[in-house]
Symmetry: C2
Subunit: 460 residues, 2 copies
């Protein structure tokens, strides 16, 4: 999908030695056409009216599309020697401008590095540009799948997910990407005059968690796998939103029921759900779930007839279909944005020890201004829910007021309306020494300068 | 293993028409030899000095060993018509006298009904007498295993586990048997003059949960499966018991690490561990774990060098070996009892929201009188720990005092020193209408009369 802000100005003269760089890069595939470069320099930041204003017009000078680690090393070294910024990107499905070059330079599009290096039971090693859907397609016949994925699974790369995401479909079972064991290893290229290769393993992988590629260029990832269950997409309709939340919470806590997604969505959000609308009765809130086929009977037994099952079919990710997860997580917002551009969203984390109470408080506080849509997850080993409520946007001041009200009530906010690493993430961040690692991997501060705003380059 | 109380008295005359029963049962295999009948009428209740005194000398009149459901129906009908009690049993590895006939009659030994009826991805249907280890042996080549098992896996039947157990190895991932989805269906034979077959499915299976076979004779079970991981037995030694508990808690909460067992054991219990002793350094508390091979690196990364890994080898259940789980759960008590018959045990459930604090309080309160051994589990969707501390036994009064002290500190006790369904289970029980179901399935009250002590037969 394209943005609402077409890039249509003339290219400004670059402050960098782009011509010299191009000459040095030789046969590394490049894109220099200004319109294309500008289009690729964007991501889905336009979900936020605030980011949309702030990031408007930001663009790389050229795009490099490495075919291999050797190409990445070539680009990194050439840029380091010329002090030209590099912004790594996958397929730019993020929402925080994570793939938007703040200071121009080279946009390093890793989406051509898609190789599955190897896989064994429980673990896969892949190049960073492999699409999540393609990894699963390759693994499912062997009985495995990635533990979690964003709602953009069919569009996004594994590298983009690990560097910019926090969790998603599957996090109700495995927690988020930040949980120990959810990223096994990452192979990095440093941005130095002579780039080095660094293999981060175990806890050390936290150094790249949600840093948008500012702490090194990720070229390979070793990811843990889950056994692949045949998943059933299920929609249950409820008269009362809180019943959907209550049932969702019970399923979330039921360790005997294998599930991948538990999403309560308050009416009227389902009214915007296009092809799914036929399964969303007028006026009803829904609970969207992915349940393992073998657990379906147990799920229904726990449901005890509360709510009406309006959809029950095997999950289908083939191109002509829309899997249920594309109505959940931040796709919920997208479904509304398709017909109503006046809304935006927030990212909330509810307190695990009083989920129901906090959901009621926040839902009643805002009425139609903030319409809840929750995602049950495990966080730090505890079942709770994150939430991506759809917010009817008025002003930045009011948005910040809403954020403050959530936080005053113990619901933490990962603000998606700021674009720096430090300001946006909060509960999604780890306490790894990311700044310290950046000093090693990016001494000149060339990886999208300004994105990790507290970083001071150690070399000029 | 045999009990400490050999049955060596002469058989008393039975109050039932056993001769008529034998005649009617025809070719159903029976055991009538008094010594054998008495020996089979026992289980591991002798772990409790109190039960050992109370159940001493209790015995069936004969043992019936049905080969099929048809045999069970024959026995049930013949006993119902003659008002002869029936006590179903598996392989009698329980600890509450659950297989001890309180009023004589027929001991119904289901251990010859071992057939795997069918299995499909995620689900197996088996006869009640199948041994847990045999079920896993049959399934693992297809990539599946039972979700959980007691430490008696190599000796116990699935029927005995479901009717008498509560959880075990695997419950850190899947919770206990009482969690929705952990028993899919149970096929029952009623004890009526013309027995009926009842299939319980979903929530209805709670009617047999931990009732020791008093609510109907379970002949088949449909059990959910987990993907079979290659498990690694790991022992980590710590100077300080609380460090073992702390690390155990972290692993328990780490949803990215695949595990099946997390057992902190305080020194000096490991001193009693026979062949494992070589991996248990003098004076050190240990943490015993089963970690999926694919998660071993992540586990070590989270361990961060705290404690010394003294054992790391693939789990081996072959007859000549002792898998690590046979030092955990109630096998911990057994390992001590092998050389010290003055101890007994308790079954505790710690509060999930203050595990560490409560463990410290209770450990310091009793010193060497109550030596802690914890089992991390999920209970109702929350990570907590159960515990089977080894208790140096003095008197029944002191034991009850200890129980009261635990409960006053928020640690609930499932008292293993009482033998009725109602008195023993507490947190292990469900709120299903088990008494009501018993009225349907056992109207004459013949299923081990006295075991469900609040039951009043509806027919004479």
């Amino acid at each position: 999908m394209n943005s609402s802000q077409p890039a249509n100005k003339a290219a400004p003269a670059s402050r960098y030695d782009i011509a010299g760089l191009i000459a040095e890069l030789g046969d590394v595939p490049l894109v220099t056409d200004t319109t294309t470069v500008r289009r690729r320099s964007r991501d889905y930041f336009w979900y936020s009216p605030i980011l949309n204003a702030q990031l408007h017009g930001k663009s790389a000078d050229i795009v490099a599309v490495p075919r291999s680690e050797a190409d990445v090393v070539k680009v990194a070294g050439a840029c380091a020697r010329r002090r030209i910024p590099i912004t790594p990107r996958g397929l730019s499905t993020g929402n925080y401008g994570q793939a938007v070059p703040l200071e121009g330079g080279v946009l390093l599009d890793l989406s051509a590095m898609t190789r599955i290096v190897w896989h064994k039971p429980g673990v896969v090693r892949v190049e960073a540009g492999a699409k999540l859907v393609d990894i699963d397609s390759a693994l499912v016949p062997a009985g495995w799948e990635l533990r979690m994925h964003p709602s953009t699974k069919r569009m996004a790369t594994v590298g983009g997910f690990v560097c910019g995401g926090s969790g998603g479909v599957g996090s109700i079972t495995h927690g988020g990407l930040r949980e120990p064991g959810n990223v096994i290893a990452a192979r990095m290229v440093t941005v130095e005059e002579t780039p080095r290769i660094i293999e981060l393993r175990g806890e050390a992988t936290q150094k790249i968690n949600r840093t948008f590629g500012t702490t090194g260029i990720v070229v390979e990832l070793e990811m843990p796998l889950a056994p692949a269950w045949p998943w059933i997409d299920v929609v249950v309709a409820f008269d009362d939103f809180y019943d959907a939340v209550q049932v969702g919470h019970e399923i979330a806590l039921a360790d005997g029921i294998v599930k991948k997604l538990i999403t309560p969505i308050k009416w009227p959000l389902p009214a915007y759900f296009g092809p799914l609308k036929v399964h969303c009765p007028e006026g009803k809130s829904i609970l969207a779930l992915m349940i393992a086929e073998a657990s379906l009977e147990s799920f229904k037994s726990l449901l005890k007839g509360r709510g009406e099952i309006t959809l029950e079919m095997p999950m289908d990710e083939s191109p002509a279909k829309i899997p249920l997860y594309e109505y959940t997580w931040n796709h919920t917002t997208l479904q509304v944005l398709k017909t109503d551009r006046t809304v935006t969203y927030l990212q909330c984390l509810y307190p695990h020890d009083r989920v129901m109470q906090a959901v009621k408080t926040m839902t009643e506080m805002f009425g139609d201004e903030v319409i809840p849509h929750l995602e049950f997850i495990r966080f730090g080993g505890r079942v709770t829910c994150s939430a991506l409520p759809v917010v009817r946007y008025s002003t930045a001041e009011r948005l910040n007021e809403i954020i403050d009200l959530f936080e005053e009530n113990g619901v933490t906010i990962a603000n998606p309306h700021v674009y720096t690493v430090e300001d946006g993430s909060r509960h999604k961040r780890t306490d790894a020494d990311q700044l310290g690692f950046k000093r090693e991997a990016d001494p000149f501060g060339l990886l999208n300068p300004g994105k990790m705003r507290t970083y001071v380059p150690v070399r000029g």
